[in-house]
């Protein structure tokens, strides 16, 4: 994955009357990343995204998209990005084909490439077999897909999605996570805001925390954060186990151990988790319970936000 900066933000400050929405926010967004933007309600997430999309002009600060000043020429910036707001609308009386065709026209896709662009976008969002249906007849999840299809039809390098999972059922959320990973694999850089941290773990490479308009942290999900695709399992042993730490190491299970409770980071794969449990039992350890713990990303997020507030 390329880590060259796609977006460089420096000293971004945005005011609403009587309230500063963004305080001197600076960061660099690597190309090919999926950044999860999280923070409490009113933290400034939407304002930050609208500034990145050159929809609102900040009081101070610069935004460079692919090396160009994003605020100097907003129409040029708009050609390089797709943006899906939290509350989006569709032309519900138009067919999906016409919705996508209009968006392709509006984004300046050359006439000869319109049909191919419509077919590509519909394929990406899994709506290729519904192109003649009216947008108004789609379910909430499919509307979300159509809206994303409209946002990516000109194949922008940057895609910004504001709360794309809100209102979706669990199955639609899984589909969305799959779609976002696919778009990243297709070469896009994504920034996604959400309140639901568990779902962000499914696809994010970076986590940006913003609180009260200030950037609390922006880090790759790795060191210090739960690994993507891992599940934290809490194992309780019968008290009084001899050489517990050594026997766990001998079983090939590196772990944190406090008294008779161990925490294992295991792949999110039932077969591998069953194998780990079997290894513990083969070692002669008396296991009282073996269960996943609450999402660690959420714990870590709360820890950072509280730390920043203090």
């Amino acid at each position: 994955m390329s880590q060259a900066p796609l977006v460089e933000v420096s000293g971004l400050t945005y005011d609403y009357p009587g309230r500063r929405a963004l305080h001197d926010v600076s960061f660099v967004l690597p190309a090919g990343s999926i950044t999860a933007l999280v923070g409490p309600n009113g933290a400034g997430k939407t304002t930050l995204m609208r500034c990145l999309a050159a929809l609102d002009e900040p009081l101070h600060g610069t935004i460079r998209l692919m090396g160009e000043d994003a605020l100097a020429d907003p129409p040029a910036t708009h050609r390089k990005l797709g943006y899906l707001p939290d509350l989006f609308g569709l032309y519900e009386r138009l067919s999906l084909r016409r919705c996508l065709t209009y968006r392709a026209w509006a984004q300046g896709v050359p006439r000869a490439e319109i049909a191919a662009a419509v077919a590509w976008a519909a394929e990406q969002v899994g709506l290729a077999d519904r192109l003649e249906e009216r947008a108004g007849t789609l379910s909430r999840g499919l509307k979300q897909r159509l809206a994303i299809g409209q946002a990516i039809i000109h194949r922008p390098p940057l895609l910004i999605l504001d709360e794309p999972a809100s209102g979706l059922d669990p199955e639609a959320r899984l589909d969305l996570a799959r779609l976002l990973r696919m778009l990243r694999d297709a070469g896009m850089t994504l920034m996604v805001s959400s309140h639901i941290l568990a779902e962000l773990e499914d696809y994010s490479t970076h986590l940006m925390i913003i609180d009260n308009g200030r950037l609390v942290s922006f880090e790759p999900l790795g060191e210090g954060w739960p690994k993507i695709g891992l599940v934290e399992i809490e194992v309780r042993f019968l008290p009084g186990q001899v050489d517990l730490r050594a026997r766990l190491a001998a079983a090939g299970l590196a772990t944190e151990l406090v008294d008779d409770v161990a925490r294992l980071n295991l792949p999110d794969d039932p077969a591998q988790q069953a194998a780990a449990l079997a290894a513990l039992l083969r070692s002669g350890l008396s296991v009282v319970s073996f269960a996943p713990v609450r999402t660690s990303l959420q714990d870590a997020y709360l820890e950072r936000v509280r730390g920043a507030r203090q």
Binding site: A53, L59, L81, F88, G89, Y91, Y102, A106
Partner: protein, 452 residues
């Protein structure tokens, strides 16, 4: 693609069912009327009323809704993010969102035109009258679209925008324009005989003159829409359009000033000052006056971004300088004849000591009112601050001034309103002091608002 917006609107507006049903309905209406009416030119009248009913009443609503429906339906951001130019979007909304209205309206206009041609009128005259109808229709749609964009601009932090207010504004402007040009398309009808219109001393055929006026006003309306749309698309615009329109309107009105030397000073001032003053207050209440705009403006100038700073200055600032120039020209100081304010003073049986100072007082009171509007806007998060300020000013200039006039407290009146009474320069000094005080208080409020 420049036609994207118009094609999308045509998809939405024109269905085969609608295209077939409308002419059938209109045919039934016309035939029933033809049977029950004995009037000679019935068909032509029906045609013109059908045209105005559809294009003015329904069309103005559709033109306003072309923006408000996008905002309320959540598709407006998608349009702001598109690569479409402001002119392509305006074209699509003006003629695409109203396509069905134009379809019905043109059927009515065709009926009207048929009767005109049938009456053996000169073809050039008939063509001019029909073009005049079309141009007024486009003008009203432009006003409705522009009003919705102005409203959207003023309520940018609000989720929804109504359609009725811009439609009413468009219809009010239409009524005002038709009232001013009463020889307009509703009156210049079948006979087409009327007095020549005198403009800058030249005689013009009413039909041709009004057609030219309608086309020019429609062009100004379209320009206003494109400029307002460009602002929505984050384009940084140099602010030439509004001052140009004010100057155009002053020059246009000047053309109607009678050439007789005894009346020229008064009427010139009436036209120049009243036009500049009307447009100044229109701009003051149409543009955004919230503190954030001025903060951005000041930051842009402070950061050396002159173009950005100029584009953020409210229209009324430019309008104020034109008002100042209009008040000082012609000076009238050497003329024994009383000027506009002098005539006003005579109504109250008073004498004006210095007309130049009085006119400067008028300009400074206008600035005082702007400072007042800014001060109210700086008072909090009130979305209706401009409306509140407007009500206060109406109370000041209406009942309050009337009360002091009734009490014959002329000095107090001179302190509050731009009436040329009391000691020379009193009004001017009062307006300057009030402007300075309100300016200082506004600055204090801004500082408190943005203290972080």
């Amino acid at each position: 693609m420049r036609t994207a917006e118009i094609r999308r609107n045509l998809w939405l507006e024109l269905s085969p069912q609608r295209l077939i049903a409308l002419p059938l309905i209109l045919l039934v209406v016309v035939l029933v009327g033809e049977v029950v009416s004995s009037r000679e030119h019935y068909l032509g009248e029906v045609g013109s009323w059908l045209y105005y009913g559809m294009v003015l009443l329904w069309g103005s609503r559709r033109a306003a809704a072309a923006v408000t429906e996008e905002v309320n339906g959540g598709t407006w951001i998608g349009q702001r993010l598109s690569a479409l130019s402001p002119s392509a979007l305006v074209l699509g909304k003006l003629f695409g969102a109203t396509a069905f209205i134009w379809y019905g309206g043109l059927i009515g206009l065709a009926l009207y035109g048929f009767i005109l041609f049938d009456a053996d009128l000169p073809q050039a005259y008939v063509a001019a009258v029909l073009l005049q109808h079309l141009a007024w229709g486009v003008f009203v749609h432009c006003v409705a679209l522009a009003a919705s964009l102005v409203l959207l601009n003023k309520r940018r932090l609000v989720e929804s925008v109504g359609t009725t207010l811009p439609q009413i504004l468009a219809l009010l402007v239409a009524l005002a324009v038709f009232g001013l040009f009463w020889r307009g398309p509703l009156v210049v009808s079948l006979v087409g005989v009327g007095q020549a219109i005198s403009w800058y001393g030249l005689a013009f055929d009413p039909a041709l003159f009004l057609t030219a006026v309608a086309v020019v006003f429609a062009a100004w309306g379209a320009l206003a829409c494109v400029r307002l749309m460009a602002a929505q698309l984050q384009r940084q615009l140099l602010p030439w359009a509004w001052p140009a329109f004010v100057l155009f309107l002053i020059a246009f009105a000047e053309g109607f000033v009678p050439s007789s030397p005894e009346r020229s000073v008064l009427f010139s001032q009436i036209s120049a000052i009243s036009v500049a003053l009307t447009l100044y207050y229109l701009a003051l209440f149409a543009d955004r006056n919230e503190p954030l705009r001025f903060r951005h403006c000041i930051a842009a100038f402070a950061g050396g971004r002159l173009r950005r700073g100029l584009s953020l200055l409210p229209w009324w600032v430019y309008g104020w300088f034109i008002l100042l120039a209009a008040a000082l020209w012609p000076s009238g100081g050497e003329s024994a004849e009383p000027d506009l304010l002098g005539r006003l003073a005579q109504v109250f049986g008073l004498t004006v000591t210095d007309s130049v100072l009085a006119r400067l007082g008028l300009v400074c009171f206008a600035l005082r009112d702007a400072a007042f509007v800014l001060w109210i806007n700086a008072g909090g998060r009130n979305q209706r601050a401009d409306l509140v300020a407007l009500i206060y000013l109406l109370v000041l200039y209406g009942p309050l001034v009337a009360l002091f006039i009734g009490l014959e407290a002329w000095t107090v009146v001179g302190l509050l309103a731009p009436l040329p009474i009391g000691p020379a320069g009193l009004g001017l000094a009062s307006a300057l002091v009030q402007t300075a005080v309100l300016g200082f208080l506004t600055w204090r409020r801004w500082q408190a608002l943005f203290r972080t």
